[in-house]
Symmetry: C2
């Protein structure tokens, strides 16, 4: 080794020892005839001292040094006269005897500090420098720790990690596939997996009753802050289980990670039904760190002559506690906010509960003081509160109100970033109707089993069929989701029919799975966790990008290596394709 | 859980308990009024007993059952009258009270037995059934165990697993890339990584001084038995190290895996130079489980009028101990064997050392009895031995003799499959001359550093430059290889020049790495192990395919899911490509 110790481990116990450290120069300070250098590596920072009067021979070399130079320094550990209590090595310094420059550095394009002066694009281009910053490095270290804890926990529970292929088959269901032209099979393509879903089900048919994999998945989608073309899943599947077994098993994993990584005992996770989540939180991934639940007002407010409410499928609201002093301007701003397309409400009705006990609303024309009092009572509102009401189509209004609830929670400081509230959402609908294509889509995926007693409804009222499906939600973020799968060929065939697949198409795309179901498929189910998201939530980050070593930007580009990029005519020719643009 | 126990855990301690087992029917036997069923799961086999006279109500259901049906059976654990000592559950059986058919099965296309009647193609098509066979299942279990042991060992040593991207940049050096058209960047492509080489070097520049990853890699090559389009590597890199540090660190990993997986203490691994390996074993991945070393005869046999030897760059042989009784026919067959293009020798000279002490050769005309005696002495040959000699160009003859050595070792039963002999091969040449393209190629890859004292030779005699590179070889199989890398921009630039890159091309392809070297790149080096191969060697298999859950065939096809396959016109259009064939 070129070093005897790291820059993070020396303290008073080492004084008097001769050591060799290697690292990057964080900072150089000159004071009189002394030069102080903060030397940094992955483990910490140690102060080097050069006394240029005692060692004039080092003078020339020290003068050459600059920020981010890589050096090796040999010397004696000594107690510092002025200690730095902020770092573990702050009691000591190294009195350097000899110095070697292992590599020079140009001046980096941004400062290697927690609060850097580099913008995102510049930092992405020089990601190898960005990764030197402690805040970024610790994200990557957290990710490693979460992965190894997960693997060991799963292994302890008897799960086997099995690598499924990356070069698989393109299927039209779900998001867009990335494809890979096959040179050896002209005109044909592999696809990169959106998830190992069918393979893990085949592994259940193969008898590997407890499978998991931390695995890369791929989706060719237009990107947002929390989407990347490649991302990682903790992918899991079990045989001979009920939904209850799966929830218990993976609640175990989540509790273990909470305890090990965050030092938190979360207690048992609450479970709430999809309908209840939508009704009370206006979201299928509710943030239950705060209350402000939605209250339905249909029975109270309808048939009083206010057409907006009378025509609405749902009238509901939330209580913004303590907001009665909101100015006209603030309420107008809030009204504009809910009318933005991202929220999609058509207007906002409010009721002010004055500190003097009076109630005033924007719809006083239709509702008496007693009416307003009755409404306020439904919210358990008190003087000083402000009730915000939306109306319209059921799901749209629930969603809008859920979004408004989160916004008000943020504005009122009700959301504590240090608190973690995991929960299970269960009893999802099996299918979603798509108005554009006039067909049902699988809410989870086409292999999700219906709740057994709802199977007859597949023929009569598919939209009302509930699924044996569940999501793990933490602080309003969906961390994972899964389901008990269909393991019966006929039911799977039926499901494809409901989704509008012809028998031929179903056979062409998923024939291998349906065939497998004819050779003794066990009852099975599973779950997949968004590993990047889970790391992001535990690390307290904003974007999954911050928890990936080499993420891509919103155009799917890696600006550091400058890819995607053109390939040679020869490569295209070998692959039997040509460009159309 | 649908079961209380697995089919592998019940024994005499459980007698009298009521249990529920789930699994697949391995075998059904009827004897009088009794039906015996072997129920199988991942953990073992347990015998179920149905007494149809006592439980006539089960009769109809039992009659329906067939091989590979999935059932759930509930009953009491009882001692068997005739025990089966071959399996851990052989002392007991389950007296079944109730039976549920969880799924039926068609008759499988081949038997689910260690010695199956299914050919490879059929088994690949029904891989989910093939994986039910114990021999295949244990391979996959071994792979999981090797992966988790590796990860924990590396973690203990302070290495961080970091996921590098799968969608990267196509580079012309090395094997052919798989590419992925980018929809969002028309006309541009990602490539799938042949290895994370440049990324792990960037991670060193980023300061993550100990990186590893168990990672999928991709090569679009024509396939052989031990090649797959996607395969897995244990990829590792360290900073501030010398070659010695890397060999010690990863010899530690290898010893740990040998101890944990095989229960073997290998002792320290010998290290031999590339030149020595070629000279003594005719191979840069010598199988040192047996001797039969190559002996050079140039000094002894040249200038005696035998033109074949006189013209040869190398005359060398091996001693096939105890083979002096080989018949003319056997020697002719061996001569034909070495002349096959895979071996490439032009002929075979032999010297028989008769049991009576007489020496006879196929070149008696040129060499006297004393000459032959002198040659035999060089081989330490004894009466009864047979010396086999090849001659020709240096490297070609070494390789041919190395191949002949392995063949004779096999034929003479000198190679014990239960013995493991790991070693390091070091001091590889940096470059290889390619006669076709009249240029040098990097023997390892273009980032390998030359031995420092050989750097000046890059200008004068590139072919003689030695590399700071090393391979780990076990039983004649290269399990891993690596090098100390170049961390200096100028030397890297020089290396690309020697490889015939223009500055522009080097900048276009590897500019990001060379730029990174300007910002404080530490000295670093690493290694990558072929994880599939390592599993195969530890599992005693022939092909890496047997240690992958879902391998592809020699045309790169997955015959189970039937891919690669055609994609829709719409997909092609979105990707801005069209087919040319």
């Amino acid at each position: 080794m070129l070093r005897t110790h790291t820059c993070g481990e020396l303290n008073m116990q080492f004084t008097g020892q001769f050591v060799t450290l290697c690292g990057w120069i964080q900072r150089i300070r000159e004071m009189g005839g002394m030069t102080f250098i903060d030397l940094r590596d992955r483990y910490g920072i140690t102060q080097l001292v050069f006394n240029l009067q005692v060692q004039p021979d080092l003078f020339a070399k020290v003068k050459e040094l600059g920020r981010e130079f890589v050096i090796s320094a040999k010397g004696r550990v000594a107690e510092r006269s002025s200690k730095n209590t902020k770092i573990p090595t702050g009691d000591i310094e190294i009195l350097v005897d000899s110095l070697e420059i292992l590599n020079a550095s140009k001046i980096p394009p941004f400062t290697i500090e927690d609060n850097t002066d580099g913008g995102e694009e510049l930092r992405m281009k020089y990601r190898y420098l960005d990764l030197r910053r402690t805040v970024v490095r610790t994200n990557i270290e957290l990710r490693h720790r979460m992965a190894i804890l997960t693997r060991n926990y799963m292994n302890e529970q008897g799960f086997i990690e099995i690598e499924t292929p990356v070069l698989i088959k393109s299927t039209p269901e779900g998001a867009r596939d990335f494809v890979v032209p096959s040179r050896m099979n002209p005109g044909q393509f592999y696809a990169l997996p959106q998830s190992p879903q069918t393979f893990k089900q085949l592994l259940m048919v193969a008898g590997f009753d407890r499978y998991f994999q931390v695995v890369k998945c791929f989706r060719d989608e237009d990107l947002r802050a929390d989407r990347q073309p490649e991302f990682s899943q903790i992918d899991c599947e079990m045989s001979f289980v009920t939904q209850e077994d799966i929830l218990n098993t993976f609640e175990g994993l989540a509790k273990y990670l909470f305890a090990q990584v965050k030092g938190i005992d979360t207690g048992d996770f609450p479970r709430i039904g999809y309908d209840e989540a939508m009704r009370e939180y206006g979201s299928d991934k509710p943030d239950i760190r705060f209350g402000m639940k939605l209250v339905e007002l249909n029975a109270t407010v309808k048939n009083r002559g206010f057409k907006v409410f009378d025509d609405a499928e749902l009238v509901a609201g939330i209580n913004a506690t303590g907001c009665c002093e909101y100015s006209r301007k603030q309420i107008d701003e809030l009204t504009d906010w809910v009318k933005r397309p991202q929220v999609g409400a058509s207007g906002l009705v409010y009721i002010r509960y004055g500190t003097d006990g009076t109630l005033k609303s924007s719809v006083d024309k239709f509702y008496s003081a007693d009416d307003l009092k009755a409404i306020a009572a439904q919210f358990s509102a008190a003087p000083g509160d402000l009730i915000l009401i939306l109306a319209g189509k059921m799901e749209k209004t629930q969603n809008a109100l859920g979004t408004l609830r989160l916004e008000m929670g943020k504005r009122l400081g009700l959301i504590d970033p240090k608190v973690f509230k995991p929960l299970w959402v269960v009893n999802f609908p099996l299918l979603e109707w798509d108005e554009d294509s006039k067909r049902f889509y699988a809410k989870h995926h086409p292999f999700t089993s219906p709740v057994p007693q709802d199977i007859p409804l597949l023929d009569t009222d598919p939209g009302s069929v509930r699924a044996n499906a569940y999501d793990l939600v933490i602080n309003g973020v969906e961390i994972g989701g899964g389901s008990i799968r269909i393991h019966n060929r006929d039911l799977q065939k039926k499901m494809f029919q409901v989704l509008g697949f012809t028998d031929e198409l179903a056979q062409e795309q998923f024939g291998f799975l349906m065939n497998a179901f004819e050779y003794g498929a066990p009852p099975h189910g599973g779950i997949a966790f968004g590993f990047d998201r889970w790391c992001t939530i535990f690390g307290g980050g904003e974007s999954i990008r911050d928890f990936m070593a080499f993420p891509k930007n919103n155009s799917g580009r890696d600006v550091m290596i400058d890819t995607p990029s053109s390939i040679s005519e020869e490569q295209l020719k070998e692959l039997n394709i040509k460009l159309t643009s």
